[in-house]
Symmetry: C2
Subunit: 418 residues, 2 copies
């Protein structure tokens, strides 16, 4: 039987200082002792990346992206060398590589490069020698050997891509989070760790606020069906598996499958980073709304939810949400367009929050949406906007009710620890 | 006429913080404005290298040398990226490279690698585009792409080797020292900056204590006749040229050439890092001294000066100096050998200093040595050992007289400012 190959990724908080690096080394070596082949991807130590960015900004507020990559890639290079030394200290063989050395070839979009291909010969060669292979996350190199970085959270992507190329049995993502929870345990202490979620559920949860893994790496994992295990670097407990829907039931267990609501809703998420813009009395002619959104899009503003009210006297109200950071720019542009289109007032509301429930198969269970709206209404929480996707339902409510709404929905869908 | 090509090297203290990096950028850009092509070699920021070594030692007191190079090379990589950003900020084009990227190929002796060859195509290509090329000092890569470092002071070597390969007009070594002085200005305030010294004089001065450049890079400069200009990064004053003897007179000026002593002696150096061992009553048979030194050499102990007294009653005393760090080991071995060879007592003296005068053509002016001994004797400073080379005369004296001796000799050979 072939040896089990595991790709493990340790985030910045897992290697924040010397003691933690030593603990990671022990964890890695533990797996090696069990006979696994190991490829370990490491992020930069703690806040190194932020510190380097700050340093660069003191010199040039608009640093060249190529030079930024040259600078930032040192963070992971330091980590891999130190982890190799820590593993050596435990009497095991290990060898570290930068992204460039290990053959992670990217395009030349500096600071947000995309992986073109990975040449795994070097890794396989070292694994064959019995070595633990340590790879700097977050980075690669162009064919012209310029160093590139993959954007924030890029180490996850390195791990997933390596797991795919090496046909690893699992890709373990270690961080200071023990797994994916039914909701944020700081808001609802009864939040429960979910044994397994599908890629799509995880994507919803990531984009809706649960910052465990970057969406891009989950998308890659989904595309190539790479099984991911999100878990804590500070314990040995099982975390949450992110896997193909067909495998979910095996892991979640048959007992839970009986109760409809429990199975359908996996978690409740919350997001306070959006703001709402409403344009009143927009003339209800075809293409009017489109012109507003085209203008915003050309200015690089991402519009998230859009709601257009039913027309009344040939006029309508249009509401949409944008990221808080873009509200100033978005408001200004919208007022300009409103004037041009002879619409009415433009209102801005920064005091909103989005609360969402996420779950596979939600769409085919119509009762779920009704249950959500009903629970909020009974608690006198007004729903200002609604949007739905295949696996989520989101409501915009007033920000002051956000935490309360999360607790209500968590209870309603019986997500708490049992 | 071809453009002037200058290789400039800035040491760690020249790029110790953001403000200094900006100053270096201004200096570099000043030369670019004058129409020069520029290749800039940079060391790690301030104490970065020491800090990384400390970090590694906290994890593994005997870190793998390959991983150490992986770790330490990040220091210079940070510097080059930041300097490129600082130059961009001033509106000039610049591009940074690691040693590996720029084609500095070394052997695989990690932490003390030797340069095998340099492929300058990439540098030439970027120079042709009008860019200032910034190269990480101290590092290279093996043919297998493992990152290597060139040992302490390796950035000087990078600069000299690049200057040679690129046939640069000058290699400027910037540091916090304004040039080579007739002696240490902290000991003798009248010390004068020397306009020019030969490679050999500089080698004597470097190995005898004036820590401006690493001997290895001076040797390379001498071998390939690379003109070096040692100067301060904090002023625009001319420093000291290190050049071929044939060029010295042009620079030093004809006026001084008239006075024999002034021309012959370039400087006075002092070194307190040695200790003396004396083996008394050694049987005066052929090969006896050799056996002691062979033993020390096998144990990795560098013996510097050796003096064997004239034989008396078929017995002789042998004195030699070793580095203070090795005195314990050297003393122990010597006592073992003394016993074996039936010699007498072994005495150790850590309170010695070496004072040397350095100058080209000293050998052909016998009066110089006599003048040195006479000056010390007149001031009641006892000379315990003497050694001479083509361009230097060194005396071992008691440590407490070291500074006094330097001042006496500096005056005797009229080296002070005029």
């Amino acid at each position: 039987m072939a040896k089990k190959l595991i790709v493990q990724k340790f985030g910045g908080s897992s290697v924040a200082n010397v003691e933690r690096i030593k603990k990671v080394a022990q964890k890695v070596v533990g797996y090696k002792r069990k006979g696994c082949d190991l490829v370990v991807v490491v992020s930069a130590l703690g806040d190194t990346t932020d510190e380097l960015v700050e340093l660069a900004n003191k010199i040039n507020i608009e640093p060249s992206e190529r030079e930024m990559d040259m600078l930032l890639s040192t963070g992971e290079q330091i980590s891999v060398a130190l982890l190799a030394m820590a593993i050596h200290k435990l009497g095991f063989e290990a060898i570290s590589f930068t992204g460039a050395q290990v053959g992670i070839i990217t395009d030349s979009s500096h600071t947000r490069a995309r992986i073109i291909k990975i040449n795994t010969d070097k890794i396989k060669e070292e694994l064959k020698k019995g070595k633990i292979v340590i790879v700097a996350g977050f980075q690669g190199a162009t064919l012209k050997k310029d160093i590139t970085t993959l954007g924030r959270g890029g180490s996850d992507l390195t791990a997933v891509a390596l797991a795919k190329e090496l046909k690893a049995d699992t890709c373990e993502i270690y961080s200071d989070v023990a797994g994916i929870y039914t909701t944020d345990p700081r808001i609802e202490p009864g939040a429960r760790k979910i044994p397994a979620v599908t890629y799509d559920e995880m994507l919803e949860m990531a984009s809706l606020g649960a910052q465990v893994m970057q969406s891009r790496s989950i998308e890659v994992a989904k595309k190539f069906n790479v099984p991911i295990h999100v878990r804590s670097s500070f314990s040995n407990h099982t975390g949450t598996m992110i896997i193909h829907p067909a495998l979910i039931k095996k892991i979640s267990g048959a007992k839970e499958a009986k109760m409809m609501e429990e199975v359908v809703v996996s978690g409740v998420t919350m997001n306070k980073s959006e703001a709402k813009i409403t344009v009143c009395n927009v003339p209800d002619r075809p293409g009017v709304a489109a012109r507003i959104f085209k203008e915003l899009s050309s200015a690089g503003i991402n519009v998230d939810m859009i709601v257009q009210n039913v027309s009344h006297l040939r006029q309508t109200d249009i509401s949409f949400t944008v990221h808080k950071n873009q509200i100033g720019k978005a408001g200004k542009l919208t007022r300009k367009m409103a004037k041009l289109l002879k619409a009415g007032d433009v209102l801005e509301d920064r005091n909103i929050a989005r609360v969402s429930i996420v779950g596979v198969g939600m769409k085919s269970h119509f009762g779920v949406a009704a249950a959500m709206f009903d629970a909020l209404a009974k608690n006198k929480i007004n729903i200002e906007m609604i949007s739905t996707s295949d696996i989520s339902i989101s409501c915009i409510i007033q920000k002051k009710f956000a935490e309360k709404a999360v607790r209500i929905l968590h209870k309603k869908f019986k997500l708490a620890k049992r």
